[in-house]
Structure formats: structure tokens, C-alpha cells
Amino acid sequence: MEKVLVQNKMYAAPGEYTAADLLAVAAAREVNNDEVVFAGTGLPVLAVMLAAQTTAPDCKVIYEAGTIGSRSTSLPSSVGDPRCVEGCSIASGLLDVFDQLQRGRVDLAFLGGAEIDQYGNVNTTVVGDYLNPDMRFPGSGGNNDINSLAKRTVFIMVQEKRRFKEEVDYLTSPGWRVRQWPSGEWMHRREAYGKKFLGGPSAVISNMAVYRFDEETGRMYVDTLHPGITEEILQENTGFTLDFSRCRGETLPPTHAELDILYEVVDPEGIFLPKK
């Protein structure tokens, strides 16, 4: 199934790639070689498969349903897919991978969410009051655990005002400033986790920008704007006041080589990336 592609490392021009392409590519670039990476269903899978083909050939991919070190040649549609098993080091079950996660073995996790606040707290559970909801979402799944226990987490999100919120309706997955129970007190993640502090959200990649976090204040700031996105456009699509003070400029677009790998090797069937 592996194809040899001409490696064209020139950046693609606007119009030559979609927002989803840029998301996947930007996410893949977060992976360092040799890292242990935990990936959820969807764009995260695209990102790790792309990373394995480009900058991080030695990364070890853990899928939460129970595979470690997958070398899939066919894109898994979900982490329970038999395609995750192909070429993996071990196919076991959740207990195995969640124990290893809690043991502190995961360097990087890719996750998604429905809502996020400026501290990186994520909601995947409910819109509206939990006790009287407007809309029920699937729930935490492993989002919460993985984000609690990985050293770095990268969230891949859709940029909308109603999704980038001052306060999330339900705090499913912990950011840098969290509510410690049973007391209910808000505190810095470092304080809440104490000796079991392993890290936290490292970046948020939306279809408009890349964000990072100031670990001291716990606040999100804009790192790069995607090509064509202005500070004004981004602020309009965000429910809290953005910090542009550390913005480094434009997000690097995909290279032609990355796009070729995405479309010809990673997702030739067009499961997540329908051909234009």
C-alpha cells in the first residue's frame, strides 16, 4: 500500500489546500520524533499518520481502544477499527493503554472538543445547564483522562464564537485553571494535580489559528494566524478577548509533499478529506 511520492517541499498557496488540510498538517508538526502519542478518532488520526510519514517516523501511536505502535496502511475510521491493529506492537485493550497513560508514559495526546475556554478547559458533554441541557453530546470518553495524564495535549477544534467561550457549560476535560472537587475551588492545574502534575494542554489548533498557553497564568494566546485570517476575524469568532501579544505571524501552510501524503497515502479513500 505504500506509495513513493515525489517530495515537493514547497508550501502550497491559498486555495490549494482546505482548512482541514491545514489543521492536520499543523497538528502533525507538533509531534517530535520518538514520542509516544495518544490519538483520538478523526483528525487526530490523520495527524499522527501524517507525522509518522514525515517528521516523526519513530513516534509510537497509542489508540485508546487498545493498540500500541500501530503502523496502519489503511486509515482507521475510529480507534476501535481493526485497521489500528495492522502492524502494531501489541493489540490488547483499554486497561493496558489507560494504565500506561496513568503511569506517565504518554508524551503527547491529540484530542477534540465541542467547547473550549481560555484556560484550555474543554466540554464534550452538554450544551446548556447540565441539569437541564439544551443538547447532549457524547460525553467525555477518554478525553478527560488523556488530557489529565498526558504530558502535552493538542486540541483540534472548530473555530466558532459559541465554541471558544468565556466559560464552558460543563468542564469535561481539564485545562490550566480548573475546579478542584470536592471543594469546588478554582485553582491552577499545577496546584490541583500536585505531585501527579504531568503537563497539560500545549496547543489548540483551529481552522483559523494556532494557540499556545502561558503555563504560569494558564491563559491561551495566539501563536500564529492561518493564512488569510486577521486578528479581527479571529476575535469575531471567539467568545473571549484574545491575547495577540505573542503572535508570531502566519501559520506555515502545508507543503505539496504533505498534501500528497495526506491525500495519496493517509486518506486516499476520502474518509475525512474528500477530494476537492
Partner: protein
Amino acid sequence: MRDKRYSLKEAVQMIQDGSMITFSGFTIWRRPMAAIYEMLRQEKRNLHLIEVNSGTHTEMLMGAGAVSIWESCWNGHELYGKVPYCMDRKIKSGEIIVEDYSHQHILYRMQAGAAGVPYLPTWASRGTDILNPEYDMLGKAGLRDGKNPRIPFQKFGYAPDPFYNEGEIILVPAARPDVCIIHAQQVGEEGTVRVMGQTFSDEQAAKAADKVIVIAEEIVPESYLREDPDRNLLPSYIVDAIVEAPWGAHPTGMYGCYDVDGAFISDFATASKTESGTQDWLDEWVYGVGSHEEYLDKLNVSRLMNLRTNSFYKYSTRAKRGSN
């Protein structure tokens, strides 16, 4: 040896209304769908589901009005439907009590049940609303009074670590289901279970339950499974009933047998957006179908042949998955 073979109907008759139930599989993979359909045909009611995660099968049970309590961490159809509409409606109508945990929590709840301890400790989910005591829904409903021995007195506990001074750790209560229904690739006639590929949380779920029903693609001789016992998942003695039901996990997929039937799940997910759509779908595919065999005939052969997995790859190379 006691004969453990039953018909699907007989096996499902062992499940009582009001029971606490759990299942094999993960989201839309290796779910005991033939048993789920039969549960619907037998009109099981007031089920208390406790699942490491849920999926299409749960939405069907909820849509049919079979569920009164759900303890889990996730419900949906993966790529084929992001919103659990049936659950959404039943929450709003107050017909279902929903108790949210995280994946690690509910997994450890099963493992605690399997190991015979009342709880396990975990670091997962600190600082989140999953631990918010205002959201203890079984407590709010007055069901944590000990009358139902399968519902613990608390949703969570907390305890300091006396060994390494790592601070206060979270305790999750054991899950103690009445019944676990497993769908596996193979079961021996005495009950030994072999699962190929990922085993998800099947081992924990089965061992936590008091009764285990196994539906398998094929019943094979015990002696065959006992030739390579290091490949088996569950010992025969904990299995109470076995049923042979080929394609019995459809529309969910399973390693080495068949892929997910995404179009089928999408159809259900779309129909499930309304109460009447759900009913129509159930009428057509469940109540209007007398048996598992009728269901397979209604699906037809060419549909199934597209889903059948390739022997080398363990997934289908024929199923159309994307838009290309």
C-alpha cells in the same frame, strides 16, 4: 459437562427487566447486536446500563424505551452520527438518569468488580465537572440509599495517599452488573471465549458480571480452543450460555470478520433524530423482523459480502468508506 448452548431467544430470556447490564465491544465495534435486537423484541424494560462506553446499540435500547439508568462516559455513532439523539431526548423527558464518568473511571469500575474489591483509585479527571457533586444524578434521585445493592452509596470517594504522599486520589466504586453480553469471534461448547484483535474492556466487563452470555460467530470444539489457551480471553466456567449467531454484531464491525456497516448506522442515526423516525426504523429493522436469520436475509448477501474482511488485512478491502 452441562450443555451451555441456547437459542438466541432462550439466552435473552435469562435477562430480567430492571437488571444491570453491560456489553462487549467499543463504540461501534463488536457489539452483541443480535442480542440487542432480541432484547428489543422481548421488550426488556427498566434496564440499568453500565458500560465502559456506549454506541449505536445503546441508542437503540434508549430509543425503544428499554433504559432507565445509564452509567458510562460516551454515547454516539463515531463517524456516522455525532449526537446521541435518543439519549438527548430521554434526558430531556426525564425518562433516563444519566451518570457521567470518564473512560478510565468506568473501566476501573469494571476492573474493581472483576477483582472483587469495592473500589479502585485513579488520578484521572481531577479538576473537572465529572467530579462535581452537584452532578451526582443517582444521588439526586435518591437511589444511593443502599436499597439497590448494585448502586454504591457514593459516586466518587477521595482518600489521601499514605505511601508516597502524592496527595488525595480519586476512588471509583466497583461495577457489579447482573449480566454481561459478549459478542466474540469464537466460543467453545463449554464456554471458553476467544477474541481476536483488540479485546477492548471485554475481560473486565465479563468478570465483573454475575452472569455471562456469549454470542459468537461460531461455536467451535473446546479442544480446538484449548490447544492454544494463551490466546483465549475468558475461561469456560464463568460463561453461562452460548449462542451461535454469524454476523451477530452487524451493523458494528469486528476484526477478521466484517467491517462496520457505516451506511446502516448512518441511517439509524439520521432516523433517530426524531421519536417517530426512531420508531419507524425499529419497526422496520427490529419489530418487523422475527429472528436474526430474517434480519440477515433482509440485509442481503451482497451487502454482507462487501463488509466481509480480507483474511490478511482483517478488515474489508471492498467496503466503500469515504467519498472517493
